[in-house]
């Protein structure tokens, strides 16, 4: 049993922590998310240069041979700075599909471009009516002589406006909600027939509604086996869950620290409000909620390579526990900040917003509590 990080991991954390502090200060971030682009490609390039984008990939494909723990460290630092750049869709999701199921040619084409930062991905899996069920798909991929033809509508595709490529889930067979018949494709976003409607998300990112109208993709756009992608999707999304949980831990840590600091400065009735026991106990409960979230994030991260049931149970446990902590800490932090907590000017509200949207990413608390029950 060992909870220590390696020297390399400590170095990555320190380096990233400095980068986020220096390049992601509050005002700069605000300007970036309000700019037309909505993100900073130059930061992306810098992350590539530092090797962060290549960290979880093997050395044969130009990566650094890191693993789930390294990803966790990166995401926690990103969470502290509310970094908006699309690490999860590109590196964790697209990278994950390629790593687990990509052909040699697919890896060669895409992985090196992910690692050097030249290709950015979005993961188009959700649909307006599918909620959190990855198999509830109305998007279809029909086989034709040259490959497949995609039709459908993907909802709230995070990072899509920034992406050059999409990972798309679609039904190649079976009925709606069948576990069989689900496939995954990599699609160039500029392909004919793709229409996007781009917008801002409340937590400072960008997303799109993506429409596929008879989009022809070549046969080698298919990742893995046709019709058998659901277990693969579950593996990759569990990895994304662990990553997002780590991000939420970073955000919660900062939200809690800000609240503590504020409570020591802000005076009411002649004393700092942190002197009031009723607020002290709430901040203690926030602290224990944070530690609980960290523990469950460790568990989910460590179990990613375990057996399927163990992995899913750990990921769902984390999504439930971290989700509850995220909501609790977010709401309490705003409450203790009083009126300032609900202004756009104070950073705390933005942490609250990110933590709120985190709850719904890859399944909310109720969904994962149910999944946990089904895995008993």
């Amino acid at each position: 049993m060992d909870f220590n990080f390696t020297e390399e991991q400590d170095m990555v954390r320190d380096g990233l922590s400095r980068l986020v502090r220096e390049l992601y200060d509050w005002e700069t971030r605000r300007k970036a998310i309000e700019s037309e682009a909505g993100w900073r490609p130059e930061i992306w390039a810098q992350l590539a240069e530092l090797g962060i984008l290549g960290m979880p990939f093997s050395e044969e494909v130009g990566g650094f041979g890191g693993g789930a723990i390294d990803r966790m460290i990166v995401m926690e630092e990103f969470g502290k700075g509310l970094v908006v750049e699309p690490f999860v869709p590109t590196v964790v999701c697209a990278g994950g599909f390629l790593k687990h199921a990509g052909s040699e040619a697919q890896r060669e084409e895409h992985l090196s471009a992910i690692i050097d930062g030249s290709r950015v991905f979005a993961f188009a899996y959700a649909e307006p009516r599918g909620r959190y069920d990855y198999a509830d798909l109305e998007t279809t991929a029909k086989k034709d002589s040259d490959g497949y033809v995609l039709n459908g509508h993907k909802a709230v595709v995070i990072g899509a406006p920034w992406a050059s490529h999409l990972v798309v889930t679609a039904r190649t067979g079976g009925d709606r909600r069948d576990r069989e018949g689900v496939s995954v494709f990599i699609v160039d976003k500029s392909a004919d027939g793709i229409v996007t409607r781009d917008y801002e998300t409340v937590d400072g990112r960008r997303a799109s509604e993506v429409y596929f109208e008879n989009v022809s993709v070549p046969a080698d756009a298919l990742i893995g086996e046709e019709g058998a992608a659901l277990p693969l999707i579950e593996q990759v999304t569990d990895e994304a869950i662990a990553a997002h949980c780590a991000e939420a831990c970073g955000a919660m840590k900062v939200a809690h620290a800000m609240t503590l600091e504020y409570s020591k400065q802000r005076k009411q009735f002649g004393v700092p409000i942190g002197k009031f026991q009723v607020l002290q106990h709430r901040m203690v409960d926030m602290y224990t909620a944070y530690e609980t979230a960290v523990s469950l994030t460790y568990l989910a991260t460590i179990k990613l390579d375990a057996g399927e049931k163990e992995r899913k149970r750990a990921a769902s446990s984390a999504k439930v526990g971290v989700g509850q902590s995220a909501r609790f800490i977010g709401q309490e932090a705003v409450q203790i900040h009083g009126g300032n907590g609900v202004t756009d000017e104070y950073a705390i509200g933005h942490y609250f917003k990110r933590l709120t949207i985190f709850e719904n990413e890859f399944g909310n608390v109720d969904h994962h509590l149910k999944r946990h029950v089904s895995l008993a």
Binding site: M1, D2, F3, N4, F5, I69, L260, S263, K264, G274, K275, Q277, Q280, H281, M283, V284, D285, Y287, T288, E291, T292, A293, S295, L296, Y298, L299, T301, I302, A314, S316, S317, V320, G321, L369, K370, H372, V373, A376
Partner: protein
């Protein structure tokens, strides 16, 4: 980072499991924790462990400890929880013992530690007072020096299992003029057979007699029973409380409790189907399991810190709060699972002939309510959970 146990730790687990299977008194296996155990029942396993040298695993080796790592101790507690073992009571082993070997003199160590190890001497804790409660420092019991004796007067309460105790460790005020209430308190060992010591059991709402009121009237105690320095007892009391809190999470036992809860809920029915298949109920069980998983990792993180040389610090307050909340929710859910057979009062329906058969309802229902009632104590004792929050807010958050 790696959560797996090493091959050595796995081998240790096998060794421990085999020892427990061979030596744990079989008749106690069925008793569980919630029957009125006799003094002999409480001590049976303790004495066996004493002979084996495993009764005080966490002590330094020079005083009879095992030299086990925190991880090994964790494995040890898990294996004991598997058989629901009646563990050595904490009063000697994890409370006064560490105080004596840390702050006591050589004579005190030689006199008291062997009896704690072997289980021959039963200890009780004289901290709480009727008017003090969580405000421990406001205690009023006095110890006045008279030649080579202290004369102790006062009343203690919640003295757990003092009805069986040979010795007690008491916090007494030796300086009534001290500037702060925490100063002027001393840590004194009292022979419970001394004249003037009177112990009166308090019946609790579960029907059991677990705690007592203890009166001390002109009790003469030799000065050599003072531990450490006079008026410095608060320091030792705080040390003791931090030790008490580590291990208070009760993870292994709660894990066993969740298994038991699932068994009960598989047996009970709702709308013609097993209760455990009811989504409302099943979600509560899952939520409990998730919180328990978080607590387990948090405890392992704390243990890893201890292994790296950090003593039990204020973080143990998290384990106390979360651990006791989970214990309470577990007994609450068990009560819910049992349904209407939670109502029969066990003491009114228990067989007089000593047979094991419960006369009313399924056997798992007999103690559900009393266990639930009994476990309300956990968020109150050992420094209430509100006090734990005060500790975290001061020591960790700096408020």
């Amino acid at each position: 980072m790696n959560l797996d146990f090493t091959p050595e730790e796995q081998a240790f687990r096998e060794e421990v499991r085999a020892f427990i299977e061979e030596n744990y008194p079989k008749h106690l296996g069925d008793v569980g924790l919630r029957e009125d155990l006799s003094r002999e029942d409480f001590l049976a396993w303790h004495k066996i462990l004493g002979e084996k040298g495993w009764s005080v695993p966490a002590w330094p080796e020079q005083y009879g400890g095992t030299g086990w790592t925190p991880t090994q101790r964790y494995i040890w507690s898990e294996e004991n929880a598997r058989v629901n073992a009646v563990m050595p009571l904490p009063f000697g082993v994890s409370m006064v013992g560490p105080v004596i070997y840390t702050f006591g003199n050589e004579e005190q160590k030689a006199r008291h530690l062997p009896g704690i190890r072997s289980g021959e001497v039963w200890w009780c804790q004289g901290y709480s007072e009727p008017g003090a409660g969580s405000d421990l420092a406001s205690l009023k019991t006095t110890a006045v020096r008279d030649g080579d004796h202290y004369v102790i007067n006062g009343q203690k309460t919640w003295t757990t299992l003092a009805q069986y105790a040979d010795w007690g460790f008491f916090l007494c005020r030796t300086d009534t003029d001290a500037a702060k209430p925490q100063e002027g308190i001393s840590f004194i060992l009292v022979d419970m057979k001394s004249p003037g010591v009177e112990v009166k059991p308090i019946k609790l709402l579960d029907g059991g007699y677990e705690v007592n009121e203890t009166w001390l009237t002109d009790v003469r105690v030799p000065v050599e029973n003072l531990v450490g320095e006079e008026n410095k007892g608060w320091t030792y009391a705080k040390f003791l409380l931090a030790h008490e809190r580590s291990g208070i999470a009760g993870v292994a036992r709660s894990k066993r409790g969740v298994e038991k809860l699932r068994e009960i809920a598989a047996n009970e029915t709702l709308d013609g189907a097993p209760l455990i298949e009811d989504m409302d109920f099943a979600r509560k069980v899952s939520q409990l399991e998730i919180d328990l998983a978080a607590l387990e990792i948090t405890e392992l993180r704390t243990l890893a810190g201890e292994q790296a040389g950090k003593g039990p610090g204020p973080e143990s307050s998290i384990l106390k709060i979360k651990g006791t909340e989970i214990q309470q929710r577990l007994t609450e859910l068990t009560l819910e699972a049992v349904g209407s057979y939670a109502a029969p009062y066990y003491h009114s329906v228990a067989n007089d002939d000593g047979s094991n058969e419960y006369p009313v309802g399924p056997d798992y229902s007999a103690h559900a309510a009393e266990t639930y009632f009994n476990m309300r104590k956990t968020s109150i004792y050992g420094g209430s959970n509100e006090i734990q929050r005060n500790i975290i807010s001061k020591m960790i958050l700096g408020l």
